[in-house]
């Protein structure tokens, strides 16, 4: 593959010095003179109408400015997942509710002059609920027919299929049909930065809102909608994001904060504490899935049938759409001619499900990849070989009519990963009999590159070269810590033959930047990176043309490289970009400046294969990692170090889902773990060293062939780990996470 100057290099993360010195100001670090502070009171009951709410004592507390409840806030409904105007969504949430639908529902908000008063004020608000029987288990939700919103439960059903599923199942003998079930947990995104936003009134009759978010333009829309303002009355400003992973793509705090700031005509900062973030933001949706796979004797998958129940929690959000996203994934990994996905989404009195790194993809892959493994084993086939037999090939069609899979290098990833992991030798190891048992597991996966095929997907940018040769790329993008802006600068720098450090990339500011649909759907590099590529090409063309004018020649006589421009036949006489740009301004009387709007044309699959080796302590049920390999088809790594970083972080999250992360509830819907002492993240001593292989075959439309990595990095992890534990103990675990207690229980059941 071609060697580039900047693409494929570990260029230093833009603004990393600010981060490493603690100078970067996150929204929570901002201070305004005259600023007020706010926190939200969360419901203490899982379900119940508010009989009375008495905030008088809180209001009397010195320092308290005002208490808000449903009685003095707008009661128009919204859906926090609403990201564009014209989107059809079911709106069932209000800013502050008169009817609590889970422990954590927003009931009141306090505004005070200092932070320390807030909790005391919250404690002084007296709420009486008319408690009702909650629905906690989504299966109950199905059975009860009782919706929390006066409609049917399940509130949505989804179906997607290809071929003839029933006919094929009828033909295959029972012993070649394998069925599995799986329950995945409700998971907290656990961004280290809790949710926070900051609003201040602006003259004339405008409101500014500062938010560490993923969809700034949607923040603007939602604030405008909820406050009955025009879009141009709202100025949304993106703050640095201290972790997002989907948690900061839904909009529910900003409108409330903006409302209070306007109502009080003062700056208001609304902050969440960890417990608030666990309960009252969004969670990875819990699913309960069933999968049935029919194979022939040669080990070819003939048909597959999948049923998924999605627990959306107390409000709809995207409880329907996430199921559709799951449906789409299952047709894009194996060649299965006859396949059906059926989903149902139910409301329960638990925290709201929402977007979370992978958007349903980790859940559905965990279900199907555990099943694939078990099918292979029951056929007495090696799990890698079985997969190799059935995986899709580059440029396969999506059998449901979705976008072409593109240069899908899953087979290469699986083979290379297996080699690196030493899969076949590890599989031939003697089975352990003692206290500690080793096992290995593999899982494959696919994920998308943007919204093409599902929604509109476009972005705009403007690029200018100043008279000193430095560049400014104005975008509507969101840096989330995954080095998006750096990658964008590398791409533009490569095209323009200039050090990416010379390019300032601005992120979203709704007053100043072009529109972007937001940092979701794994579109940052593939779609927005392509826009950067195109606009850089356009500016390059312009630069050559304008330089030619200055030099009294034609564009084809001008060369540019490494920040310098010259006439083809006078290479010894070089001008710097800056010298030329200045002359262009003076002599041609124009600025080097261009705008571009890019629409995604394709949406190939990204692919990955992960391998885990674990050692399970049968005395305690604790799992230790011996090895971990992640192989990814990324098309082209624009910045290999940050691609690796995404993978490492993805593995951390996936291991959490496999082994320890779960928000649990008692039968009254009271959450049992609302802090990091009882909700455990994988910390440094638990993490394996992840060995990464990157497959860089390009072949798709993205910039320099690049494809997405951030979300897919976490998709196959859980399944690989579960498969490894199942392998170590020869058990079948159906409920995640596999806590030590669940592991020992499964082991005991096997022995009985």
């Amino acid at each position: 593959m071609k060697d580039y100057k900047y693409v494929g290099k570990n260029i230093k993360f833009k603004d990393v010095e600010e981060r490493v010195t603690g100078r970067l100001k996150y929204a929570g670090d901002l201070n305004h003179s005259d600023m007020l502070y706010s926190r939200v009171l969360l419901s203490e009951v899982a379900r119940g109408r508010i009989k009375s709410i008495d905030s008088s004592k809180a209001e009397e507390l010195p320092g308290v400015v005002k208490v808000y409840t449903y009685e003095n806030t707008p009661q128009n409904t919204f859906n926090s997942y609403n990201w564009y105007r014209g989107q059809e969504v079911s709106k069932d949430e209000v800013l502050l509710t008169p009817y609590a639908r889970f422990v954590g529902d927003r009931v009141a908000a306090v505004v005070a002059r200092d932070k320390k008063t807030l909790q005391q004020a919250l404690d002084l608000i007296e709420v009486e609920y008319e408690e009702e029987e909650p629905i906690i288990d989504p299966r109950e939700g199905l059975a009860s027919d009782d919706s929390l919103h006066g409609e049917e439960n399940p509130f949505a059903k989804q179906e997607l299929s290809c071929g003839d599923v029933e006919g094929n199942f009828a033909e295959i003998p029972d012993e070649l049909i394998f069925e599995d079930e799986l329950e995945t947990p409700k998971i907290h995104h656990a961004t280290m930065e809790n949710h926070v936003c900051f609003a201040y009134p602006k003259e004339p009759d405008r409101i500014a809102i500062v938010s560490p978010c993923q969809l700034l333009f949607s923040v603007r829309m939602m604030v405008a909608n909820m406050l009955d303002l025009r879009f141009n009355q709202v100025h949304a400003i993106k703050a640095p994001v201290g972790g997002s992973f989907g948690a900061k793509q839904e909009i529910f705090l900003e409108p409330l904060c903006a409302f209070m700031a306007r109502d009080l005509d003062r700056p208001v900062k609304l902050e969440f504490k960890r417990r608030d973030s666990i309960l009252a933001t969004r969670t990875r949706s819990k699913i309960i899935g069933k999968v049935k796979t029919a194979v022939d004797k040669e080990g070819k998958i003939r048909a597959r049938d999948i049923d998924v129940l999605v627990d959306a929690g107390g409000y709809t959000s995207n409880g329907n759409i996430v199921s559709i996203a799951m449906a789409k994934k299952v047709f894009r990994l194996y060649r299965i001619e006859n396949q059906r996905y059926r989903g149902k989404s139910v409301h329960t009195n638990t925290p709201i499900g929402g977007a979370c790194r992978g958007y349903g993809s980790p859940q559905i892959h965990t279900l199907t990849e555990i099943n694939i493994d078990r099918v292979a084993k029951r056929l007495d086939m090696d799990p890698v070989d079985f997969r190799l037999k059935n995986l899709i090939q580059p440029y396969d069609k999506d059998p449901t009519g979705g976008p072409n899979l593109g240069n899908a290098q899953i087979i290469a990833a699986l083979k290379e990963g297996a080699e690196k992991f030493d899969w076949y030798n590890k599989r031939n190891r003697k089975e352990d009999k003692g206290r500690y048992r080793r096992g290995i597991g593999v899982a494959c996966c696919t994920h998308g590159n943007g919204y093409y095929g599902a929604y509109h997907d476009f972005t705009g940018m403007t690029l200018r070269m100043y008279a000193d040769g430095s560049l400014l790329l104005n975008t509507g993008l969101h840096e989330l810590g995954n080095a998006t802006l750096t990658a964008i600068a590398q791409i533009a720098g490569e095209v323009l033959e200039i050090d990416p450090g010379e390019i300032t990339v601005l992120e979203a500011d709704t007053d100043l930047s072009p529109y972007d649909i937001g940092a979701h759907a794994s579109r940052g590099t593939y779609v927005c990176g392509m826009c950067a590529f195109k606009i850089a090409e356009k500016l390059k063309e312009q630069f050559l043309r304008e330089s030619a004018k200055v030099l009294n020649t034609t564009a084809d006589q001008v060369e540019m490289e490494q920040g310098e421009v010259w006439l083809k036949d006078a290479p010894q006489k070089r001008l710097s970009y800056g010298e030329m740009a200045a002359r262009v301004q003076v002599e041609n009387q124009r600025e080097l400046f261009t705008t571009y709007s890019y629409q995604a044309q394709t949406n190939p699959g990204s692919y990955g294969a992960h391998f885990a080796e674990v050692e399970v302590d049968t005395f305690t049920g604790l799992v230790k990692f011996k090895d971990y390999v992640a192989a990814h088809d990324v098309g082209k790594a624009i910045n290999p170090s940050s691609v690796e970083g995404q993978i490492h972080g993805g593995v951390q999250m996936g291991i959490g889902m496999a082994l320890c992360e779960e928000i649990t509830f008692n039968d009254k819907g009271q959450p049992l773990n609302t802090n990091f002492s009882s909700y455990h993240l994988v910390n440094a001593p638990e993490m394996p060293k992840v060995r990464v292989s990157l497959i860089e075959e390009g072949g798709d439309e993205g910039p320099y062939g690049a494809k997405s990595i951030g979300e897919i990095a976490t998709v196959p992890v859980t399944a690989a780990v579960v498969n490894a534990v199942n392998d170590a103990l020869d058990i079948k675990l159906n409920v995640l996470p596999m806590t030590p207690a669940r592991i020992l229980e499964a082991l005991n059941e096997k022995e009985e």
């Binding site: 004592k57 009397e60 507390l61 320390k116 909790q119 005391q120 404690d123 002084l124 504490k273 005395f619 305690t620 049920g621 604790l622 320890c660 649990t664 049992l672 773990n673 002492s677 009882s678 455990h680 994988v682 910390n683 001593p685 638990e686 806590t739 030590p740 207690a741 020992l744 229980e745 005991n748």
Partner: protein, 297 residues
Amino acid sequence: MKGLKKEKQKQNKTKYFSPGNVKEAVEILAEIGEEVEVLAGGTDLLVRYYERLYDIDYLLDLRLLEGLEGIKLYDDRIEIGARATHSQLEKSEYINKYFPIIGQAAANVGSPQIRNRGTIGGNIVNASPAGDLLPGMLAYEAKFKLVSAKEEIIVSAEDFFVEPGKTILKPNQLLTKVILPKPEENTYSSWIKIGMRKTVAITTISLALVLKLKRDNNTIKELRTCLGSVAPTPLLIRELNREIKGEKIDQLDFNRLGELVADIISPIDDVRATKEYRKEVARNIMIESLEKVAKLR
């Protein structure tokens, strides 16, 4: 946290004391009594009052109190000041020599940040069933010195714990010292902690075991077994000792003792684990502990 809510609005700010000696401190306790919160490292107290510091009326900070620091060696005992931190215990030569499992337990409390602040006194008075120093205290027959304005008394660790968060310590008393009698010759010990993570984990179940052998280094003189997180207080299993006293360690049926421990305890379900899990693991770690001490011989 509902219990911490104030029905009425609190008018006064927290009153803060940081006396320099025990006498002053206990006088404050005598005067104000129950409403005082004693503050050592704060790693339990500040978590309990997270966001609700306004709810504390009086704080008695031990930070300047003389006589509560340090680890001192005497002929027959070691005395640990209540303000000794986990980090100090972990690094103490005396502790590691005479009471290795206290050092091991301290070394695995929380994280470096917690060990640098959290104290032995706080761990003991906080009386969490999962407090990691507590099983060792019972297994090594520790004694605690409690001081009030009226008197100084010495109580045994075995009698100290009442229920989660509750001990016999009275509001007017301060825990000043932990006294550990130096073990006799041929004493061996083991500490096992099981949590949901290797580090920074509340104990799901733990076991401190101290085995005293007779001069022949084989015949069992006494076996002290204390489990954490299986009962409201650290649970010393006396039955075991009766069962095996006089037997020889190299002929002991470890499995039988493991089963016995599992039978005796009656743990509960919580967010970390089920009671079945705790029983099974209790058996397994009992066996492991016996194997460990037998090997140390």
